[in-house]
């Protein structure tokens, strides 16, 4: 597997979690989610490809979306976590923490055995 493929898989694996985390404190519209992700991560490469992920997460019932008129010159589509989304986010956070912890332990073990 090339480095690019591996990085792309990591990015894709992390993106769902990052999006759910971004909307967990409260509803956000698409551009606001992208700006938040760009402020904290390098996960957004092409802004337009975030919208299909939001559509999928909505289709899977993890997010719900509704259009809001009047607060900007153009209507904004807001996303919020559903109950099912909150549950999934909780599980994903736990799994992510465990995963990172195990890899970190593995890396420390490798470093120890080489020294």
């Amino acid at each position: 597997m090339s480095r690019e493929t591996w990085q792309e898989q990591l990015r894709r694996g992390a993106l769902d979690l990052a999006i759910l985390l971004t909307v967990s404190p409260g509803p956000r519209y698409g551009l606001s989610i992208i700006q938040h992700l760009e402020a904290f991560t390098d996960l957004v490469i092409t802004e337009g490809t975030i919208y299909p992920i939001l559509a999928r997460l909505t289709r899977e019932g993890l997010l719900e979306a509704n259009w809001v008129d009047g607060e900007a010159p153009h209507a904004r589509k807001y996303y919020r976590l559903t109950r099912s989304g909150q549950k999934r986010l909780h599980e994903m956070k736990d799994e992510w923490t465990l995963f990172v912890d195990k890899i970190a332990r593995l890396m420390r073990a490798a470093e120890t055995s080489t020294t």
């Binding site: 690019e4 493929t5 990085q7 792309e8 898989q9 990591l10 990015r11 894709r12 519209y29 698409g30 551009l31 992208i34 390098d42 996960l43 490469i45 092409t46 802004e47 337009g48 490809t49 919208y51 299909p52 992920i53 559509a55 999928r56 289709r59 259009w67 900007a72 010159p73 153009h74 209507a75 904004r76 589509k77």
Partner: protein, 204 residues
């Protein structure tokens, strides 16, 4: 920044291409919703570009960051069609995903063609097995001057009698099912690979 009529035309052109691309695989209502959301994104970005010295440059930068309309449409298709096919493994979903890749990418076309051939070969063997008991003179190993030149069924019956007795039925069934199963597995593996590595650029 307020767009001039030229800038508006550029945005509308982008949205037109996106809409046309999305229409090939998404229901109309979802297409309208997706285009509306992308338009909202562009208008919002444009509005935030107050004081930009050059409208054309600012707009091109916004559209570049958004990504070409075909890539955005491909990302929608990748999220929707391929996910469904890989998750369910259903034949209809797989065929739809393969068809979409075949008509949107060159690699997808070549792989789709190979997989389609595999499915047809499998179905062909099964059809020979089904036809043989009904038309024993028409189905089997087709020969010419005593040499086998093909395998299948021919209507009307070939001038030279077909070779192969009823034993070709179990052989055809085995080969047919084997071809279908192997092709289906290959199709699913291909779609999984596409799902893992869609048309998105690599991490910076």
């Amino acid at each position: 920044m307020n767009l001039s009529s030229t800038g508006d035309s550029r945005v509308n052109g982008y949205l037109f291409v996106l809409e046309r691309s999305l229409k090939s695989f998404l229901p109309g209502e979802l297409v309208r919703d997706a285009v509306r959301e992308i338009e909202s994104h562009v208008r919002e970005r444009v509005a935030a570009h107050d004081g930009a010295p050059n409208e054309r440059e600012a707009l091109e930068k916004i559209l570049k960051e958004l990504g070409p309309p075909l890539r955005v449409a491909q990302a929608y298709s990748a999220e929707r069609i391929i996910d469904e096919a890989v998750a369910t493994g259903r034949v209809v979903a797989m065929v739809r995903a393969l068809w979409h890749l075949a008509v949107t990418t060159i690699g997808g076309f070549l792989v789709g063609l190979a997989l389609l051939t595999g499915y047809f070969v499998g179905l062909g063997f099964l059809m020979v097995a089904a036809i043989k008991p009904l038309f024993p003179q028409n189905a089997g190993i087709i020969t010419k001057n005593g040499w086998p030149v093909g395998f299948g069924a021919q209507f009307p019956a070939p001038a030279e009698p077909v070779a192969g007795g009823y034993w070709i039925i179990p052989i055809s069934l085995i080969l047919g099912f084997a071809a279908l199963v192997l092709t289906h597995r290959a199709a699913r593996a291909f779609l999984s690979r596409r799902q893992e590595k869609p048309d998105l650029p690599a991490l910076r």
